[in-house]
């Protein structure tokens, strides 16, 4: 295999708190390769989000290092996009202005070009008619589509997604999973790292599922998902192979969950 895009090398992260330190991550080692779709599952509070924050540069590891194409990252890594679970569209910008934000900040293209690109992306996710709407005028599913497209707009090599579909209803989730796979299919060199609580989602989307341990978070198991692509997100869970992988991942996860409260 080629060189990894993202590598964790013995990464730990300790949060100082008044009642003693909290170790969020401990000795994390992982290589993620170009064009891979990796999902991460684990008990709540196991440091999944912390791990993503160290990739993008919002947090520094306490020890160890995170490498981007073999080089340690300093500050915010501009090759990485980040779609978070919170409702993070800029409320004072219209949908289109949100989508073009990254291009505008990076000084890519002139205004007309940025808008053209933004509109094309919005059209791709069926929101071209909503380009002048504000955040509060959109449903949860629409907001998250805008959120994804805002990150796609500047073509980051790696996209991190932190429970992006968490608060959505089951049907909308499926639709967005389907859309995400299709968008990724159109830019297969892009690497996706996706945190979720939903095992079905984790397996349906991923090439590899990373199961983390309870806090302090480290990797318990990495499960390969050899289901062929393109996948039909609406029926994939009926595949016997899917069930097999599901049971395997679930066994690991259930064990960790038991320990987390024991």
């Amino acid at each position: 295999m080629a060189d990894p895009v993202i590598s964790f090398r013995q990464v730990s992260r300790v949060f100082r708190a008044q009642r003693g330190d909290v170790v969020a991550l401990s000795d994390l080692n992982l290589d993620i390769y170009e064009g891979e779709f990796v999902t991460v599952v684990g008990p709540s509070g196991c440091g999944k989000s912390t791990a993503l924050n160290t990739i993008v540069g919002l947090l520094e590891p306490s020890t160890g290092e995170v490498l981007f194409r073999g080089k340690p990252t300093v500050g915010i890594c501009h090759e990485v996009g980040y779609v978070t679970q919170a409702d993070n569209l800029f409320p004072w910008r219209t949908v289109l202005e949100n989508v073009t934000f990254g291009l505008e900040m990076r000084g890519i293209g002139n205004k007309a070009e940025r808008q053209e690109r933004g509109m094309a992306l919005l059209k791709r996710v069926g929101l071209e008619d909503f380009h002048s709407h504000y955040r509060h005028e959109l449903s949860g599913g629409m907001r998250q589509r805008v959120n994804i497209v805002r990150t796609l707009a500047y073509d980051p090599k790696v996209i991190l997604l932190d429970e992006p579909f968490g608060p959505l209803d089951a049907q909308t989730r499926l639709q967005l999973q389907d859309l995400l796979l299709k968008l990724w299919g159109e830019r297969r060199e892009t690497t996706l790292i996706f945190i979720t609580h939903d095992l079905t989602e984790a397996i349906a989307l991923a090439d590899r599922v990373v199961v983390m341990t309870a806090r302090p978070g480290r990797i318990r198991e990495v499960v390969k998902v050899n289901l062929r692509r393109p996948r039909d997100i609406y029926t994939i869970h009926t595949d016997p192979k899917f069930r097999e992988i599901y049971d395997k991942v679930w066994a690991h996860l259930a064990d960790e969950m038991r320990q987390a409260v024991a």
Partner: protein, 257 residues
Amino acid sequence: MKPITLITWRLAVFLMILGAWQGISGPIVDSFWFSRPSLVAEYLWEITVSGQLWHDLVLTFKATAIGYVFGAIAGLVLGLLIAQNESVALVLKPFVLAVYGIPRIALAPIFILWFGIALQSKVMMAAMMTFLLVFFNTYEGVRAADLDLRNVARVLGANKAQLFWHVTIPNASPWIIAGLRISIPQALVAAVVAEFIASTAGLGYRMMENTNLMDTAGTMAGIIVLMVIVVLLNSLLDHAEKYFLRWRPKESDTKNR
């Protein structure tokens, strides 16, 4: 309620108040102290025709406007600068709160002492009032920054200056606009109060003069003129605020989501 019904009802209430005043003042209470709408109207007509009202209005308005502009600029700039810097903000916090706690009208006499009885002291009163309100609101607005949105903007590629213009400022804009808005009537009040204390013309001076002459119609007329100005300014500001904050959800929207 239909707009036309609403306006009709409001008009009815307005006329009832005027009617009650006119009816009570005279037979029940002494109209020497309370005046009557008819007397006030007569007085207002007189000073409008003579040009005195216009003359006073212009003076008071000038003091208010000049003071407001300087106070607003100073409040905005200082508010942004101080709130931006974590340690400066921390050191100055109790002082900011203390200054905010001063009953600001109480500063009028000393301002007259410092700046004289001419226009300057009125301008300074209006400026001080505006400054404090705008400063405090701006400061609070910047301090209330949404950390998640800042991080999103950083990841999307915003540098420090871009963070300031594209996140900090719009994020604080509801506070800043509220400050700019509430300080307009307050600046007017400050200028009028300074005129009460010592001056030779202006709306506040005229009200004081009439009161000293026991001309209650004149005093009431002054109150009514001030009321009308503030109501007009407020409705103007309402529209401006709606335009600038059109991205914000209305109360009724959020309830349904």
